[in-house]
Structures are given as structure tokens and as C-alpha cells.
């Protein structure tokens, strides 16, 4: 028998992983909803954040907090660059062609980033802050897991607040629902897309950096994160932000428990097959 305290500790790790996936999944959902571009580079953006923060804090020698903040800024700059160059070219086409073009261009970007980053960061890195373990009754919880959960919750909450409360957020949701309608009331979809894409990149960067404090990450993890984020986004309903967030947390918990009880291989197989089944049984909404 596994002790209850262990179960709870594993569960908290699962929630931390799930929040991380939720942040990436929401990024995919937002960008796809606004411009029909499925960002297959999102996991690599997250890893880019982790690696930049690691580089800035070790090789450059900044303190943890400035290194992390600067790392997020660098990911944001990458986001702006990609949006201005590659995505501008993708948005010139329409419909199914744009979807395909989006898939291939972001897949190519992911491979390109992976190819470049492997040369500079060949090993696996951790952004350990040396946070103490916290003991509640019998349960030992790593402080970094709590940090991941707290930061992710704040980021998700501010994202929702942004979309609900601000003019820009409302404009984004308008484009989400009806692009022509948005144009008619004077919202420029391209501008909104640019802002939201960069926002999604920054969120991914934050996710990568925060998750890096509790896990050891390498360049090869990037693509796997993309796949999980994609699953989260599709399982949660590719146009529903709340659904994506919930799906992310659930998936993280399930994946972590499955890993703990039945081992990594079987757990991943179950995960991927669940995604396949959900893809097949859910009602087809977007075509």
C-alpha cells in the first residue's frame, strides 16, 4: 500500500505539471481561435525560456529574479520576431491552406529552434532556487511545486481577467467569435492576433521558467510539451479557454499518477490513446 501522504504529494506534483500544461494549452487555444494557426512551437518557446533563464543566471551571473524576468523578455522578443516575419506570411493565405501552412511553418520553427539550441545547450538543466521542502502534517511538499502552482494560477487568472475585463481582451474575444463582425465594429484582427501571439509566447516562457525550478529540462522535452499542450487544447475544446485550462490540470494529475503507479511507457500510451479516443468521440465543431 502506498501511504496517503505519498499519494497527496504525488497529486500536488501532478497539479504543478498540469498547471504548466494548462498554460501552454491556453496559448495554443488562444492563437488558434484568433488566427487558425496551430502553434506547434509552443513547447520550444517554453524550453527557450528555461534555457535563457539558466544561461542568464549561470553564465552571465545575474541573480535568479532578474535572470528569470529577462528570460521572459527574451521569449517575448522571439514571439514578436516570429509574428512579424513568419506569421505575417502565413496570414496571407486563407482557410484550410492557412491551417496547413501554420502547422508546417510552426513545426519547422520548432525543429529549427531545437536544432539551434541543441548546439548551445546539449545537456539537461534545472533552475533550482533551493526552495525548502514544506512539511504539512505528514506530507512533504517541495517548495518549488508550490511556486509553480501559485505562479501558474496567478498567470491564468490574469489571462482570464485580461480577456474579460480589458478592451483589448474583449476585442480579442470578438475576433474569436466573428472575424467579419469584429472588422465591422473597427477591431483590427491582425493587430489582435499579434498581441495575443506574443502574449501566448510570454506565457509559455513563464511556464518554462517556473516549471524549470521543479524539473530538469532539456531541448528534447520541447516537442513533447508541444504534443501534450496540443492534446490539452484539443481535449478541452480547441476554442474554449476554460476547457483547456481544466483539461490541462486533469491531464497533469492523471499523467503523474499513471507514471507513479504503472510506469512511464504504459502511462504515455494510455495518454496518447485517450487523446485519440476523445478526438474520435467528441462532436465535430470546427472544420
Amino acid at each position: 500500500m502506498v501511504a496517503t501522504s505519498t499519494l497527496i504529494a504525488v497529486g500536488i506534483d501532478g497539479i504543478a505539471y498540469g498547471m504548466f500544461l494548462a498554460l501552454l494549452g491556453v496559448g495554443i487555444t488562444l492563437v488558434f481561435g484568433l488566427g487558425e494557426v496551430l502553434n506547434l512551437a509552443i513547447g520550444m518557446f517554453a524550453i527557450f525560456g528555461t534555457l535563457m533563464a539558466h544561461y542568464l543566471s549561470t553564465a552571465v551571473g545575474l541573480g535568479s529574479v532578474p535572470a528569470f524576468l529577462l528570460g521572459i523578455v527574451v521569449v517575448g522578443i522571439l514571439g514578436v520576431t516570429v509574428d512579424r516575419t513568419l506569421l505575417s506570411l502565413v496570414y496571407r493565405s486563407d482557410g484550410e491552406e492557412r491551417i496547413l501552412l501554420g502547422i508546417f511553418v510552426t513545426l519547422g520553427l520548432s525543429i529549427l529552434l531545437e536544432g539551434i539550441l541543441t548546439n548551445f545547450f546539449p545537456s539537461r538543466y534545472s533552475l533550482s532556487l533551493g526552495l525548502p521542502r514544506i512539511n504539512v502534517i505528514d506530507i512533504t511538499i517541495p517548495g518549488s511545486s508550490i511556486l509553480v502552482i501559485a505562479v501558474s494560477a496567478v498567470v491564468l487568472a490574469s489571462l482570464f481577467a485580461f480577456l474579460r475585463g480589458t478592451f483589448l481582451g474583449k476585442a480579442a474575444r470578438t475576433v474569436f467569435q466573428d472575424e467579419v463582425g469584429a472588422l465591422l465594429i473597427g477591431v483590427d484582427p491582425r493587430r489582435i492576433r499579434a498581441i495575443v501571439f506574443v502574449l501566448a509566447a510570454i506565457v509559455a516562457g513563464i511556464a518554462g521558467i517556473v516549471y524549470g525550478t521543479t524539473a530538469t529540462l532539456g531541448v528534447t522535452d520541447g516537442f513533447q510539451f508541444t504534443i501534450f499542450a496540443l492534446i490539452v487544447s484539443i481535449v478541452g475544446g480547441i476554442r474554449s479557454i476554460e476547457g483547456t485550462a481544466v483539461a490541462g490540470i486533469l491531464l497533469g494529475i492523471v499523467a503523474t499518477y499513471a507514471n507513479f503507479f504503472i510506469g512511464a511507457y504504459l502511462a504515455s500510451i494510455i495518454l496518447f490513446m485517450t487523446a485519440v479516443i476523445i478526438l474520435l468521440v467528441r462532436p465535430v465543431v470546427e472544420e
Partner: protein, 338 residues
């Protein structure tokens, strides 16, 4: 002004291709390195021919080519060595049938559920990841990540009789298979299937309304594509002498085959073979900067899709048409070959 007597039909051009493919290895019979490279090129040409049928002609973006290829290889090798103990030659069709059946099942379900190209790609990508995990995880059957040793089709004994390298024998076996696959393709696309595929691609609702069974045609395309991909996977096992999960991964197979098909020209008869040749040539030139190869291929994927979606074949066949029909009027000189 002379016009060159160049062939007009795809079948005649397939003959030309067969001759070119058969002559090329004669120059490198002594070099195992180049023969191995040539083998790999032919294996990937097979895979690309399969993807051209599924993705090119019926909009089913199969991103589980690696898993299909690996599955066929495992079925063939494990059945031959551990279960039945008979010659693997007899089990090549069984392996192809297994991957073909999986492809047909995916196509059938996707067509029934009316999944678009994006959902099919994600669905098959998930299958790819699940299956490769399974290949590694089912250690008792597949030997896990260190691979399943495959004794082979006995090509080295044929080679020693003829006094040539095992890889030279494999080259000629592969040439026969590529030409056969090419002939199947030409027949398929030139006949009623090609017309039906075209109609479905234009508008599946309109196609269905004039009596084209969309689900059936897509399923047939999925079966054929997956069977050809399975054959490629079996040949990969023969080439390596082992069935290695790493050879059938997403990056190693799917990404490369996709790039080849696009470079060569999607929905063209010779695009897959030309594309595979070009990519292996590029790879050979890149080998001095090996650690940058991934980055270069990523960049290539982006640039190709943004600026070169038509591929090389339309350019090449325009050139051929111009050489042949130099005296004819510039318009009306098309022979329907794209």
C-alpha cells in the same frame, strides 16, 4: 529548331526512371558508403510515394508513417523468426497487410467522422507517439530500445554468388520495388480512382452527390498508402539488420518524408522519388556541418512551405515539355501530366 523525342506518358517515364535508377549504382559498386546512401534514398522514396497517395491525393495527412513502417517491420520479423520460423520473404505481404489494415482503419474512421486534414494529422500524430512508446515498452516481443535483431532476407548469399556487395543486391531489390510502387501509383491515379480522388478533393459533398463513395475511396487510399509505407519499413529493417524503434520515430521518418514530398512536388508522379534524391543529396552536402543538420532541415521546412509549395516537378516537367515541343505552339502542348 529540333525537338527532342522525349516520352509523353507517365508509364514511359517510369521506364526511363527505372533505367536511371538501375544505372546509377553501377558507378559506386565498390563504395559501401554510397550504396548505403542509395539504399536509404530508395527506402524513403517508397515512403514518399505512400504519403503522396494519402496526403497528396486524398488530403489525409498521415503523421504516423514511422509507426506504420515500424509496425510492418515488427510483424514481418517477429512472425518469421519467433512465431512461424519460416522465411521472411513470405511474411513481407503479411507485414504490408498489417500496416495497410491500420491505415485503412484510420482512414475509414476519419472519413466516417468527417475529420478534416488538421484533425487527421493530430490523430495520427498521437497514434505515432503511442505506437513508438509501445515498440519500446513491449520489451519481451520487440527487444525494446536496443532493437530486435533481424537475420534478413538472405541477400548476402545472393551477393556472394554474384560477387557483389550485399547493399548492391538490396539496391536492385529496392529499385524493383520502387518501380512497382510507381506503376501502381500511375495506374491508380490514371484510372477511375484518380478521377474520384480529384472530385473528392475539390468538394467531397458534390462528389458524394454524384455517387462517389467518399468513405470507400479514402479507405482504399489509406490502405494502399500504408501498405507501401509498411514495405518501406520492412526494407529499412533489412537495410539495418535490426528493427530499431529509433529508426521509426516522428523526426526520423515523418518530418523527412514530408520534406521530400514537398520538395519533389506533391500530387506529381515523380515528385516523391525526385524529392527523396534531392534531400539525400542535401544531407550529404551538409554532413561536414552535421550538428547543424536539424536546424537546416527546420529552416528548409519553413522556407519550402512558404515559397515553394509546388515543388520541383512542375518546373522540371515544364522544362521537358518545352524541350520536346519546341516546334509546337507554346499553348496546347500539355499532355495532362502535372
Amino acid at each position: 529548331m529540333t525537338s527532342l523525342p522525349l516520352p509523353r506518358t507517365d508509364r514511359a517515364w517510369t521506364g526511363v526512371m527505372a533505367v536511371v535508377l538501375a544505372v546509377a549504382p553501377l558507378f559506386v559498386l565498390e563504395s559501401t558508403t554510397y550504396l548505403r546512401l542509395y539504399n536509404q534514398f530508395l527506402i524513403f522514396a517508397l515512403l514518399a510515394i505512400g504519403l503522396n497517395i494519402a496526403f497528396g491525393h486524398t488530403d489525409q495527412l498521415f503523421l504516423f508513417m514511422g509507426a506504420l513502417a515500424g509496425g510492418a517491420a515488427y510483424v514481418m520479423a517477429v512472425l518469421a523468426q519467433d512465431v512461424l520460423g519460416i522465411t521472411p520473404w513470405l511474411l513481407i505481404p503479411v507485414g504490408m497487410a498489417a500496416s495497410g489494415a491500420l491505415g485503412a482503419l484510420v482512414s475509414w474512421v476519419s472519413a466516417k467522422r468527417r475529420l478534416g486534414v488538421i484533425l487527421i494529422s493530430i490523430l495520427t500524430l498521437n497514434l505515432q507517439l503511442a505506437l513508438t512508446e509501445a515498440y519500446v515498452g513491449l520489451r519481451g516481443i520487440t527487444g525494446g530500445s536496443t532493437g530486435y535483431s533481424f537475420v534478413g532476407l538472405g541477400l548476402d548469399s545472393i551477393g556472394s554468388i554474384l560477387g557483389i556487395n550485399r547493399f548492391a543486391v538490396l539496391s536492385y531489390l529496392l529499385i524493383v520495388l520502387v518501380v512497382l510502387a510507381q506503376l501502381v501509383y500511375v495506374r491508380l491515379i490514371g484510372g477511375k480512382y484518380g478521377l474520384a480522388f480529384e472530385a473528392i478533393r475539390e468538394d467531397d459533398l458534390a462528389a458524394a452527390s454524384i455517387g462517389i463513395d467518399v468513405v470507400r475511396y479514402k479507405t482504399v487510399a489509406g490502405f494502399l498508402a500504408a501498405a507501401i509505407i509498411g514495405l518501406g519499413g520492412i526494407m529499412m529493417a533489412e537495410f539495418q539488420g535490426t528493427v530499431l524503434p529509433g529508426d521509426y520515430g516522428f523526426a526520423a521518418v515523418d518530418v523527412m518524408v514530408l520534406i521530400m514530398l514537398i520538395i519533389g512536388g506533391i500530387r506529381t508522379t515523380f515528385g516523391p522519388v525526385v524529392g527523396a534524391a534531392v534531400v539525400f543529396t542535401i544531407e550529404e552536402f551538409l554532413s561536414p556541418v552535421g550538428q547543424w543538420e536539424t536546424a537546416v532541415f527546420g529552416a528548409l521546412l519553413i522556407v519550402l512551405f512558404l515559397y515553394f509549395r509546388q515543388g520541383l516537378m512542375p518546373v522540371l516537367s515544364d522544362g521537358v515539355d518545352r524541350l520536346r515541343d519546341r516546334t509546337a505552339s507554346s499553348s496546347g502542348a500539355t499532355d495532362g501530366r502535372s
